[in-house]
Amino acid sequence: MLRLIARRLALGVLVALTVMTLAFLLTRLSGDLAVSIAGPSATQADVEIVRKAYGLDRPLYIQFFAWTGRAMVGDFGQSYFFKDSVANLIQKRLPITLTLGLVGLSLALIISLPLGILAALRENTWIDRSVTMFTMVGQAVPSFWLALILMIVLGLQLGILPISGTGTWQHFVMPGIVLAFTAIPALTRLTRSGMIEAMASDYIRTARAKGLSRARIIFKHALRNAAIPVVSIAAVQLGFMLGGSIVIETVFALHGVGYLGWESIAKNDFPVVQAVVLVLAVFYIGLTLLADILNALLDPRLRTG
């Protein structure tokens, strides 16, 4: 178990280093940074001053090692646009994104696990077909459209939820629902197929032959095995939710990390872009590691890896 965690951790560090290198190089590929920072009205002399001031005149590898060296200790430099330190910016935005992601994932699991189990136990009945239909519609509905419909119905017509901002917990309900909807179809179908497979297995026949109660057979013996792929996918989905919620953060005016990344790309604020990419990648790596550990706890066969 410890060996497994150590190996996955080492792998995670390698991935993080790769992401750092890529993030650094890609921002340098997007054109002359000094020119874009100085702005369209700048003279050649202004551009040169900017280049010197930001250290962009140094060789690329020196810039890279200077940045990675500082990034290791949490210093991501100054934002060119926000006139604030990058670390501060991210620190302010991160709670919003994390809250949104966790609310989204929790809602998704609360809805998709029971639905998937129900559909599996009632395989090929109208209940199963309704659930499948629901997941297909869920997959087809674009999240910005769902967001707007929810805003109109819940926010404007019924007036029970605020439609934008981050003031109270109620502000996270609608975006959470929309975000959950991006994960519900996959999680539901995975739970369903995992449960169908488990319920048809020999060890469930054994559990029935032992005279165990139906609840124990379903929730202990079958779900434990069906949950393994669900955990992996849920971790990946949370990763998507943290990094890919730009649309939802924009629609609901939630200024989280995804939105920050989007803004800084548009403004060529490359220290922010690099830092956002790195922070999201680290989260992603952390979640994958967490999923591996959870899976090893669920399935003893994975513990020796």
Partner: protein
């Protein structure tokens, strides 16, 4: 002697069409080993699963009579049936590799049988599990309790399954091809173990097998199944001495018996496979493969007596083979 398990006219259908078991009748006496024997697809396993109420979805059973220790099994609710299973009647399966849950320790899977049916603490159940593991010949039971199924060999897993089946001291053990997936030396060990346990625990065993060698070694009574019917019933000695049904004779001719088979004569075989029987089928299901079939075989077949507790389902009189050599 009163029967522990009595099955009369058991019918099992799947999806309302395919008849897997067509009126099978047999009795398992207290303290005996009763073998259900027949080739693949003849309905042996389905019969056992029907007795345990473990048929897969879509399977439907009905019986004129199906009683276990005086209890009418056909009238029990699912909940009442679950109270019997694992408690007074237990079952082990052909596939020891996949029959244990990969996610839980051996100890936890064994202990839950006892706590479910008899209550008591988990610690007491684990003690009982360790004791039974010792009884079925598993060394270092204390260590095995904490292990997971994938850490055990096939033979060990089948021993665990047997020990688990014995947790509540059942009266009946149904063993569905318990040695088929194991290699020969382990097979012999498991068979010896079952025979020992039968004596020590006063078990009745319903053993399902396609292997007549196993039947000869362990069975007291035999029911030969073909296409969902019991075509011949007898004591083991009687069946091997004077088989009556052409199918039984065919099966026996496929097995080399020391002293009975000439070295230069080939072993027998039965041509063809068990036919799928639809509803509305009448007559003998074996007639398409039988060398003695004639037009009367398409009509109702009488069950003939061939001695004490020996009967068979065929148009031919007892000892037909001696009267008209095939």
């Amino acid at each position: 002697m009163s029967a522990l398990l009595e099955v009369e006219e058991l019918q099992v259908t799947f999806g309302g069409r395919t008849a897997a078991v067509r009126g099978a009748s047999f009795r398992v006496e207290k303290g005996e080993t009763h073998c259900l024997v027949g080739e693949s697809g003849c309905g042996k396993s389905v019969t056992a699963l029907a007795v345990m109420s473990l048929l897969a979805r879509g399977g439907h059973r009905s019986a004129k009579r199906m009683s276990f220790a005086g209890t009418d099994l056909t009238s029990l609710s699912d909940r009442e049936m679950a109270r019997l299973r694992g408690n007074r009647m237990a079952m082990i399966f052909q596939e020891p590799m996949t029959s244990l849950n990969p996610a839980f320790t051996i100890g936890s899977q064994m202990a839950e049988v006892l706590t479910r049916h008899k209550g008591g603490s988990r610690a007491a159940a684990l003690d009982r599990a360790a004791e039974l593991m010792g009884r079925v010949g598993i060394t270092a039971p204390g260590m095995r309790l904490g292990q997971f199924p994938h850490q055990l060999s096939g033979g060990l897993r089948q021993r665990v399954m047997i020990a688990m089946a014995l947790m509540c001291d059942p009266e009946l053990l149904i063993a569905d091809e318990p040695t088929t997936a194991l290699d020969v030396t382990v097979q012999a060990q498991i068979l010896r173990l079952l025979a020992t346990l039968k004596r020590e625990f006063g078990l009745s065993i319903l053993l399902i097998t396609h292997d007549l060698g196993i039947v000869a070694r362990v069975a007291d009574h035999v029911s030969v199944m073909y296409a969902g019917e019991v075509v011949e019933r007898a004591t083991t000695a009687e069946l091997f001495r004077a088989p009556q049904h052409p199918y039984t004779r065919g099966l026996l001719s496929c097995v080399p018996v020391p002293g009975r088979v000439q070295r230069d004569r080939p072993l027998g075989s039965i041509p063809g496979v068990v036919p799928a029987i639809g509803s509305g089928f009448t007559g003998c299901a074996f007639r398409s493969r039988c060398a003695h079939a004639d037009e009367t075989c398409a009509h109702a077949i009488p069950r003939r007596q061939a001695g004490n507790a020996h009967d068979y389902l065929c148009r031919l009189e007892p000892d037909w083979a001696e009267l008209q050599p095939a």
